[in-house]
């Protein structure tokens, strides 16, 4: 999926000023890629929910807390919306078995986890059917340009052009607690270029790659969970 807003550099300063005044910021150029792998049929019954957890930072995962919040809020809205069990409530109810040090590393570890006293009961009480493990992050892959701003008694302004590229790469592994195995995986990769050209007034043209990844991943997750699929 590709969504590019072309920027014309050869437009006059007056036109640029008009654009700057009429828009707070424009969307930068982004390329989004969503992939899904499904291993088994899915679906949620009434009263069932999913919990969305961040994979352990003990294993080097650096998923931003804000991204998890975004996914959680987005999957609970719109068509095919799914019920999400609160992450902190889930982790506290099963303390300390879902702490970064102790959380299961793969669906194969679920039977061992269930053997701990009270764990299977708490999971059943929660109504959580799927655990969704989110990994990945957003990184700045390149940047350049220069932007200078100055202020003086008579006014101020900026001149120049700064740009940067962000890569947002996230994946969500879905474990089916009932079956004790992986139901599949969904991933989203978004590459975007942001630019701030400035002739007196800076005009930020921002590629919000993380927001696009959140929207893409959440949308695909909703379909993955609610659509039982051809399997």
């Amino acid at each position: 999926m590709k969504n590019c807003d072309a920027l014309q550099f050869k437009i006059g300063a007056r036109s640029l000023l008009g654009i700057a005044l009429s828009t707070l910021y424009l969307a930068g150029c982004m390329t989004t890629r969503i992939e899904e792998t499904k291993n088994s049929a899915t679906g949620l019954l009434a009263g069932e929910s999913v919990v969305i957890l961040e994979a352990s930072y003990h294993q080097g995962n650096t998923t931003e807390d804000g991204f998890l919040d975004c996914i959680s809020k987005t999957v609970q809205k719109g068509r095919n919306k799914i019920a999400v069990y609160p992450e902190q409530k889930f982790v506290d109810a099963l303390f300390p078995w879902f702490e970064p040090r102790t959380m299961p590393e793969g669906p194969d570890a679920l039977p061992d986890l269930m053997r701990h006293p009270g764990v299977a009961e708490r999971l059943k009480e929660s109504g959580v059917r799927y655990i969704i493990w989110v990994t990945g992050n957003t990184e700045r892959s390149a940047s350049g340009g220069s932007l200078s701003c100055a202020i003086a008694p008579g006014g101020g302004g900026c001149f120049g052009l700064a740009w940067w590229e962000n890569d947002s790469s996230y994946s969500a592994a879905i474990w089916d607690i009932h079956d004790g195995k992986s139901a599949g995986q969904v991933s989203a990769e978004v590459h975007g270029t942001s630019v701030i050209p400035a002739i007196i007034i800076p005009v930020p043209i921002i590629a919000r790659t993380q927001a696009a990844a959140c929207k893409g991943l959440a949308g695909e997750l909703k379909t993955f969970i609610t659509d039982s699929g051809p399997l």
Binding site: K2, C4, A6, L7, F9, C29, Y57, H58, T62, E64, D65, G66, D69, D92, A93, L94, F95, P96, W97, E99, P100, R101, T102, H116, P117, G118, V119, R122, G144, G145, S146, S148, C149, A150, I151, A152, P153, G156, G157, C158, F159, G160, L161, A162, W163, T193, V195
Partner: protein, 228 residues
């Protein structure tokens, strides 16, 4: 549709400093502004007050005495960083609450004791006495780690004694926690990282107690160490 950007250097080379002019802000005003900015950045006090959830674990058939020293009852840490100002951590009795939660879940019965062993009650009815301490506390800021994370390391030491006061083992427990700087302010993120480190200590102790060789040998039967 693909966009090819003009080289920014070409645009900037001749014009970069054209708009930079000298401002008329007076020198005393600048000093005042700088002092205000420095004052707000110089000192950060992190207060950690939290209740931990009950650990989900089957209790071992042991009666254990707990002895908390000052580092557990009222811990504070202070460090002056050359660039990042003064950081102080007030953990108060949070560690005592943490160990209360761990040990009351981990053992069938716990009592508080004044010494690390003795004769007569309550020592004669105890299986062991545990004295936790904090040996080291470290933290790092996003600027230092070149990441978006505030991080905290706490090294606890659990001294485990027999009821007669003989040391069974010194068990060091390293705990780590981090928190995202983008979701919280600096103080709040550091407090969150500290809480996460303390929760990590619980995870270490609950999963590691039965595996620590000297504890296993002195206190646990074969079935009990497999339960943890």
């Amino acid at each position: 549709m693909q966009t090819r950007w003009a080289s920014p250097r070409d645009v900037i080379r001749s014009n970069e400093y054209k708009l930079v002019k000298r401002t008329d802000i007076s020198r005393p005003t600048l000093w005042l502004l700088a002092a205000a900015a420095l004052g707000s950045a110089c000192s950060k006090s992190v207060e950690v007050k939290v209740d931990f959830p009950e650990p989900l674990v089957a209790p071992l058939a042991l009666k254990v005495g707990l002895r908390y020293g000052d580092s557990i009852n009222n811990y504070s840490y202070h460090e002056e960083l050359p660039v990042d100002g003064n950081w102080s951590f007030e953990l108060g009795a949070t560690n005592a609450r943490l160990f209360d939660k761990i040990f009351s879940a981990l053992f069938e019965e716990v009592v508080y004791v004044d010494a690390t062993g003795g004769t007569g009650e309550p020592y004669s009815s105890l299986d062991a006495i545990i004295e936790p301490t904090i040996e080291a506390f470290e933290f790092s800021l996003p600027r230092q780690s070149r990441s978006d994370q505030y991080s905290v390391w706490i090294r606890y030491n659990l001294r485990v004694y027999g009821p007669d006061g003989n040391l069974i083992t010194n068990w060091p427990v390293s705990a780590y926690g981090q928190a995202d700087s983008r979701l919280f302010g600096a103080k709040e993120a550091m407090a969150e990282a500290t809480i996460n480190a303390m929760r990590d200590a619980v995870a270490s102790i609950v999963t590691g107690f039965g595996k620590e060789p000297k504890i296993k040998e002195a206190l646990l039967t074969e079935n009990e160490d497999e339960e943890l």
